[in-house]
């Protein structure tokens, strides 16, 4: 056998091999079984239709659809965020504890490849889960929107509304159906889960236990969700026209660097649920920001992990 060439600093192929193994591991751990109750929930939402539609407190069709989207997007966010934390927290400490990592790092595998591979693996599983949930959301929402459109058309025609108004009413309902904006909302949650996984990856490189990794990651997730509100409340109240001074600005920037601002992701998701206009440029900006966050956390993880002794 010929002697091997020198090992490159980073190899996408090796990272892909580790990612592939991570996907297999998570799939064989039967993580996708969690999708079954989620599917039941999404399908079950259909049966709430009659309950909300009847009676004096009946909701408008678009309100119903918004509620449907809110519930589904919320479930997707909760599942993917928790999954990102738990799976990342389990994988690396697990490899260290059972010494699988020894045999991997004793092959020509740079530590960066290992970290990136693990992260890619978790992200790939989140992507598959997100895709399945998204398909379910689109299917159920489509079914429900079509039903609402038929009801509304029939109702307005019966009451003799002019065709122009029927058309406007239909357009309003259709905007709450499975649109591109809704996909932006789903994508925002996916990006958020990627950032959370990268945070958990960083913590797992110096953490001594899975429990610590999970607890700290959840804490960062919560801080990230409320940090913009906290910053506004602590430093200055923009509602009162207050401008942050230099020190406040520096502290604010540091906080937003350490703790990702998840409010930005929520803003897109909320807009998607309300069927408001989300510009592709905004989405691209959020994707770019997520890539920066993930990149920073991976580099920090690598700094910690490259000097780690086993």
């Amino acid at each position: 056998m010929s002697r091997p060439a020198s090992t490159s600093f980073f190899s996408l192929r090796r990272a892909f091999i580790i990612a592939q193994s991570t996907v297999t591991q998570l799939v064989r751990m039967k993580v996708f079984y969690f999708l079954a109750p989620i599917a039941l929930l999404f399908l079950g939402l259909q049966f709430f239709d009659a309950f909300w539609y009847e009676g004096p407190e009946a909701l408008m069709p678009e309100q119903e659809l918004r509620m449907h989207k809110n519930l589904c997007l919320g479930t997707m966010m909760l599942f993917t965020s928790l999954f990102a934390i738990v799976s990342t927290a389990l994988l690396i400490p697990g490899d260290i504890e059972d010494r699988t990592l020894y045999t991997i790092l004793c092959k020509p595998v740079p530590r960066l490849d290992y970290l990136v591979g693990k992260l890619f693996g978790v992200i790939a599983v989140i992507f598959i889960a997100m895709l399945v949930m998204d398909l379910l959301l689109v299917a159920t929402l489509h079914y429900r929107t079509e039903a609402k459109l038929a009801d509304m058309t029939e109702y307005m025609t019966r009451l003799g509304y002019p065709e122009r108004e029927v058309k406007a009413g239909r357009a309003e309902i259709a905007a709450h159906g499975p649109t591109l904006v809704l996909q932006f909302g789903v994508l925002a949650h996916f990006l958020k889960a990627c950032v959370i996984a990268a945070v958990a990856l960083l913590i797992s490189t110096f953490s001594t236990s899975t429990l610590f990794t999970i607890a700290t990651s959840v804490m960062i997730w919560i801080i990230g969700a409320f940090q913009s509100i906290a910053r506004d409340g602590l430093f200055s109240d923009p509602a009162l026209g207050g401008e942050p001074n230099l020190a406040e600005r520096i502290v604010g920037t540091l906080i937003s660097l350490v703790f990702p601002d998840f409010q930005l992701f929520e803003a897109i998701s909320d807009a998607a649920a309300r069927a408001e206009n989300v510009l592709p440029a905004d989405m691209a900006q959020l994707a770019g920001l997520s890539a920066v966050y993930v990149g920073i956390y991976v580099v920090l993880s690598w700094f910690v992990f490259s000097d780690k002794e086993f």
């Binding site: 091997p4 751990m29 020894y102 045999t103 790092l105 004793c106 020509p108």
Partner: protein
């Protein structure tokens, strides 16, 4: 053969910080050793003597406090040095969700192997360690001995020039232990350098060319096995079917020879391991025997 040492450890010192900034633990103190290509080197010592730390430093899993380690001239801390190393840790665990074949494939791919070459190598390795029948079984159902075998298969998958084995026969039954020993000897004949740590001194004695004894982090003795264990002033004589007359003559001769002394006399003994292997022969599907038979057959057809 290359002049570069397979393993070169120079003045290796490794200290670990105690908990809560407590006392420093000096795990390895100024250890230097050199393993020539093709040599089987055994590092022995009691628990906590620094064997595993030395091994981990050679493999780049721990960074030396001072001193250097290199593999075939390449700095151990660099990833490049691991291209030609196969490592079997003590009590190895692998991904339990993978099958035996998938495990070897995974490690082979990490070493840059692919395609037909990898496929053939997987089969070759599984045959070598006698796990062909378990190739599609997941590792979670494997016994300790089987895990050790799959560990050897992954260690050898990229055909490394150096194999590092930490307690390679821990938890393996005597027959399996013998097979692993035979495998190490086979590696030696193929020119592979073997660096092993073991508590089983008899095994080390049987397979190693050179031995280092480490105690409290210090390499207290090192040399070729013959030099280390031969007793300069004593000679052993084992006779087959000696008659009582012959024995009497020998005793008389010793008595009249100035300075000579008969230290002990008795029946030569086999080892418990040899007895065990003899008694259990044929009661186990000897995968290694099958393998040897196949190899002989292949050689004959060539």
């Amino acid at each position: 053969m290359s002049d570069v040492a397979a393993v070169e450890v120079t003045n290796l010192v490794k200290d670990f910080k105690g908990p809560f900034r407590g006392k420093m633990v000096h795990a390895v103190k100024d250890v230097s050793l050199s393993i020539a290509p093709g040599e089987v080197y055994g590092l022995i010592g009691p628990n906590g003597s620094g064997k595993s730390t030395t091994m981990k430093a050679v493999l780049g899993l721990v960074a030396p406090t001072s001193g250097t380690c290199s593999i075939f001239g390449k700095d151990s801390s660099k990833v490049d040095s691991r291209s030609e190393v196969g490592f079997l840790p003590e009590n190895p665990y692998f991904y339990k969700h993978l099958t035996a074949a998938e495990t070897v494939r995974f490690y082979g791919r990490l070493c840059g192997m692919r395609g037909r070459a990898l496929k053939d190598r997987i089969e070759e390795m599984l045959e070598l360690v006698g796990l062909q029948d378990a190739r599609d079984r997941r590792l979670k159902g494997f016994s300790k001995g089987m895990l050790q075998r799959i560990g050897l298969a992954q260690a050898l998958v990229q055909d490394p020039r150096l194999v590092v084995l930490d307690e390679p026969t821990a938890g393996v039954d005597p027959t399996g232990s013998r097979e692993i020993r035979d495998l190490i000897l086979e590696l030696k004949t193929r020119g592979v350098t073997v660096f092993l740590c073991s508590h089983l001194l008899e095994q080390v004695q049987e397979i190693c060319d050179r031995v280092g004894i480490i105690h409290h982090g210090v390499l207290v003795n090192e040399g070729s096995l013959d030099d280390l264990i031969s007793l300069e002033d004593k000679t052993e004589l084992i006779l087959g079917n000696p008659s009582p007359d012959l024995m009497e003559q020998i005793r008389s001769l010793v008595d009249v020879t100035h300075g000579a002394e008969l230290v002990s006399e008795g029946r030569a003994r086999t080892t418990l391991e040899s007895l065990f292997l003899k008694e259990t022969q044929g009661q186990r599907t000897g995968s290694t025997q099958i393998l040897r038979a196949r190899k002989s057959q292949k050689r004959a057809t060539k």
